[in-house]
């Protein structure tokens, strides 16, 4: 056996993982070969060096670092869907984006619609009086027998319009000092006297507006009294007696306004109570037979005694 062959097998020889025949051959060779003996000794020594290498301690933070990464992996594994909705892990989760989107859309829609609503409202005010006019021409003024379904207010309005010129008390000199809307009807009554033409044009507009207001607010009344203060107190008392709730009290120079919420059934009673206090004029009666409370606004005006 050549030295090269022997040296190739020395590693296995050291470990004893070699056939007995080969071992015998190597043993024989080693007895005679100094070079191979040295090789064997060197190999044994080298192996010893390697095996004596000390075990190293891993860094103390290793587990912690590994687990931190593993845990974040685990979070990722929860799936895209859950991640998107998991607020703590994404700074701007889908909910927030959705909320902002909805808010923007709402504002946008609102802004787009708003002018249209204004436009829609304006013609309504103009169309209504015209409709009233036409109706007035067609139907006899007082026709309570068969009110148009769904338009009881207009019907009432019609009836009232017919009555207005007939109204006895005249307030001609009373200029509309207050430009409050409530006042507008009063001068109109005065104006009526002056000419049929004006009556046709202007008052309708005003009345229509009053009608809309009346519809919205319930019942609007004007009561002409001798003494505003006392009348106001008495009216308040009347409301309280009937179980109404006063919502508004406004005091002006020559008039007071009291608004209250009252059970609809008590309205007739209220009217009875009002009659002794002063002269009641209903300005806009939105009398729709309804349940529950109605809002009643009473304007207390000092009676103007004409000479």
């Amino acid at each position: 056996m050549e030295c090269n062959d022997i040296q190739e097998k020395l590693s296995a020889y050291i470990e004893g993982i070699i056939s007995s025949e080969e071992k015998l051959l190597i043993d024989e060779h080693l007895k005679a070969c100094q070079q191979c003996n040295e090789s064997l000794a060197d190999l044994k020594k080298a192996l010893e060096y390697v095996q004596k290498l000390e075990e190293m301690e891993p860094p103390p933070w290793l587990t912690q670092k590994v687990m931190a990464r593993v845990r974040s992996e685990a979070e990722l594994k929860r799936g895209i869907f859950q991640r998107l909705f998991y607020p703590l892990h994404i700074k701007l989760p889908i909910e927030a984006i959705a909320a902002i989107f909805i808010a923007i859309t709402t504002v946008y829609i609102y802004k787009t619609i708003q002018p249209e609503m204004k436009l829609a409202k304006a013609p309504l005010e103009k169309i209504r009086p015209r409709a009233l006019l036409e109706e007035k021409e067609r139907t006899p003024p007082i026709d309570k027998g068969k009110p148009l379904p769904g338009k009881p207010a207009e019907q009432l309005m019609l009836a009232k319009e017919k009555e207005i010129p007939v109204v006895e008390h005249v307030e001609a000199p009373k200029a509309p000092a207050k430009v409050a809307k409530r006042d507008e009807v009063v001068p109109s009554a005065g104006v009526v006297k002056k000419g049929e033409l004006k009556r046709e044009a202007l008052p309708y507009e005003l009345r229509a507006r009053a009608l809309i207001e009346g519809k919205r607010e319930g019942i609007s009344l004007t009561i002409n009294v001798k003494e505003i203060e006392t009348a106001s107190r008495e009216i308040e008392k009347a409301f309280v007696q009937l179980g109404g709730k006063i919502i508004k009290k406004e005091y002006f120079e020559n008039k007071n306004i009291i608004a209250a919420e009252l059970d609809f059934k008590k309205v007739t009673e209220l009217f009875e109570k009002l009659r002794p206090i002063g002269e009641v004029k209903d300005k806009a009666l939105a009398f729709e037979a309804r349940e529950g409370n109605v809002e009643i606004e009473i304007e207390i005006v000092k009676i103007s005694i004409h000479p």
């Binding site: 075990e55 587990t63 687990m67």
Partner: protein
């Protein structure tokens, strides 16, 4: 023999099953249990403390990712060591490519300062000088291991440092036992020659 291997009882089986169900704490148990050996394999492969730390972390993370695909044909520990060995080899290839133009060879092993810093505290019965000498020798040995090519290095690390059997190494590296042996013997010869140069008289 194959059958025998398949029926091998894996002491980690319970925790591995828990991990597959998504139990992260069970994985932590496995990390704590295997990190030292993992680290030492990585360290002897890399010859660098920081690199070894990185590689062990990566190995555990990829083990966690792949644990659902772990079929249990080998022991869990064997599977783990395969991962760390492969990562270490890939990293070495990267580093080798980077250091290609520099003159590192058997004669000039990559210096390993880290072992100086992080070396285990020497036994108390050694004097300061002895300790220093020992450390120096260890560094030289590591330097010689570093000079080996990956496929020789891994068998040397697994057999002579970690003490795995040929059978285990064959499983781990997925190469026949005969190949493991011949690589190991060549690796030992290379280390012997290297040490003779570095240390002088053995």
């Amino acid at each position: 023999m194959r059958e025998k291997k398949q029926t091998i009882r894996d002491e980690d089986y319970e925790f591995v099953s828990l991990c597959k169900k998504g139990d992260v704490d069970a994985f932590e148990v496995l990390v704590k249990k295997h990190q030292k050996r993992m680290f030492n394999i990585a360290y002897r492969m890399m010859g660098n403390y920081e690199e070894a730390s990185e590689i062990v972390q990566d190995a555990f993370v990829s083990a966690y990712r792949g644990i659902k695909n772990f079929r249990g044909r080998a022991k869990f520990s064997t599977w783990l060591y395969t991962i760390v060995i492969n990562l270490a080899k890939n990293r070495l290839k990267q580093l080798k490519a980077r250091l290609h133009h520099e003159k590192y060879s058997i004669d000039n092993p990559i210096p390993t300062h880290e072992s100086q810093i992080h070396g285990e505290p020497a036994s108390s019965d050694l004097s300061a000088l002895e300790r220093l000498e020992k450390r120096e020798t260890q560094q030289k040995v590591q330097g010689c291991i570093d000079s080996l090519d990956g496929e020789f290095k891994e068998v040397l690390v697994l057999k002579d440092i970690q003490g795995f059997s040929y059978d285990e190494i064959s499983d781990l590296l997925k190469v026949p036992e005969g190949t493991v042996k011949s690589r190991l013997f060549r690796a030992r010869e290379a280390v012997k020659d290297c040490l003779k140069k570095v240390i002088g008289d053995l």
